[in-house]
């Protein structure tokens, strides 16, 4: 990525213009980061705070009155509640699948319906979670179905 800084003393504020061949996720993420919308999400693990990359997160889930973020490298505790995360994260990528779980749809590797009606979702690395029927409609909406 080429970065140019042009100084114009008559300007009162900072303006950033992004030139790109097409609108991609990278462009959107960059725009969000520059506009200050995308405040980093911090994960806490054993007294260590780590900024979490959205794409690297497999799922968020509620456990022992805390909200955890699971990545391929480990599980972190995050401050925002699930409903806050639901509002904050890109809706086409992160979707709530049950009362206590939000998953990254880009990390879904399997989806099965058992004969007893249970919907089983498998994420990268073999993590298994269960989709509540009530949230199937939401998933379909997130995927534009």
């Amino acid at each position: 990525m080429e970065v140019n800084v042009r100084l114009e003393p008559e300007r009162t504020g900072i303006e950033v213009v992004i030139y790109a061949p097409a609108r991609t996720e990278e462009v959107d993420a960059l725009a969000a980061r520059l506009s200050g919308d995308a405040e980093p999400l911090w994960g806490f693990c054993g007294g260590e705070a780590v900024p979490l990359e959205t794409d690297g997160i497999l799922r968020f889930y509620g456990e022992e009155k805390a909200v955890r973020a699971q990545t391929e490298s480990g599980v972190y505790t995050v401050r925002p509640r699930l409903y806050e995360l639901e509002r904050r994260l890109p809706p086409e990528q992160f979707v709530r699948i049950s009362y206590s779980e939000i998953v990254n749809l880009r990390r879904v590797t399997g989806l099965d319906l058992s004969l007893t009606g249970t919907i089983r979702m498998t994420l990268t690395g073999g993590t298994v979670c269960y989709v509540s029927r009530r949230y199937v409609k939401k998933i379909k909406e997130a995927l534009g179905l």
Binding site: S98, Y99, S100, L105, V108, T109, G110, L111, D112, L113, L115, T116, G117, T118, I119, Y130, R133, R134, V136, I139, K140, L143, G144, L145
Partner: protein
């Protein structure tokens, strides 16, 4: 949650009352003499008891739907809870309103269980459609790449639905049939409903999974117990006809599936190359 529970109880009770009020007015109390007798011979009290039973039924069914909102518990256990709740209150309602007859309660239980089962299978099939649509959009592999022998696993919901309808409909419709001219038993079921069910379930299985012979067998086999009912309204060869109809429907469905696959193949191939969605 508690607020929602009370809201549902109130709304359900009102719905139950609204449903029972015309029935109480249209069908006089004398028909249900046992209830009238239990109310000390007062027709007004009997009517009020029926209204109350209707309100309780509505309230329990409406509030019982909250079982589906439980944060924990599988769909199956929620279904069981919901079934026991709804079935229990329905049988109780029948017991109160139809003169405390055990045979009526038994019939109500059979009818309710049959209908609930059919509803459950339909919901399962709808859910599978949704899951498959999500799978396709996420670009996941087909759920069952290796077909089971005779595609029994794939066609199991269709088999259950066919069996439930063939076995359940005659006893469900029998009480509504005319005693002098049993139109439902002698004409409607064997010449309209059964052929329709056989053809549609066969067709559905064909569209979904291609050729599978088991729905045809299920249609034929599930029809046979109806030969035992009195009055004798059916003949064994009707079972063969339903099986053939199901098979024809299945072949038609399989042909449609094949045609659709052929038609969509260029679009899927193009989408795979471009990395775009199928229009």
């Amino acid at each position: 949650m508690r607020r929602e529970l009370f809201k549902r109880l109130g709304f359900g009770a009102l719905c139950g009352l609204a449903g029972m009020a015309p029935l109480t007015v249209l069908f006089p109390y004398t028909e249900y003499s046992a209830l009238t007798a239990a109310c000390g011979g007062s027709a007004v009290w009997a009517g009020l008891a029926r209204l109350l039973a209707g309100a309780v039924w509505g309230a329990v069914v409406c509030a019982g739907a909250l079982v589906w909102h439980r944060p924990r518990g599988t769909f199956f256990t929620s279904s069981l809870w919901n079934y026991f709740l709804d079935c229990g209150i329905f049988v109780l309602w029948v017991w109160v309103c139809f003169g405390f007859e055990k045979s009526m309660c038994l019939a109500a239980w059979v009818v309710f269980t049959g209908l609930y089962f059919i509803g459950w299978v339909v919901r399962w099939l709808t859910c599978r459609e949704d899951v498959d649509a999500i799978r396709r959009r996420l670009g996941l592999e087909p759920s069952s790449p290796a077909p089971s022998p005779f595609r029994w696993r794939e066609s199991l919901p269709y088999l259950l639905l066919t069996a439930a309808l063939f076995l359940g409909l005659p006893p469900v419709l029998a009480p509504f049939d005319d005693t002098c001219m049993p139109f439902l038993t002698f004409l409607f079921l064997p010449y309209a409903v059964f052929p329709f069910i056989a053809a549609v379930t066969g067709f559905g299985a064909g569209v979904r999974h291609g050729f599978c012979p088991l729905p045809a067998l299920a249609a034929g086999a599930a029809f046979l117990p109806n030969l035992l009912y009195e009055p004798k309204a059916y003949f064994w060869f009707q079972g063969v006809i339903y099986a053939l109809l199901s098979l024809a429907g299945n072949l038609l469905g399989a042909a449609r599936r094949h045609w659709r696959e052929e038609k969509l193949r260029p679009a899927y191939e193009a989408a795979e190359t471009d990395g775009t969605d199928v229009p």
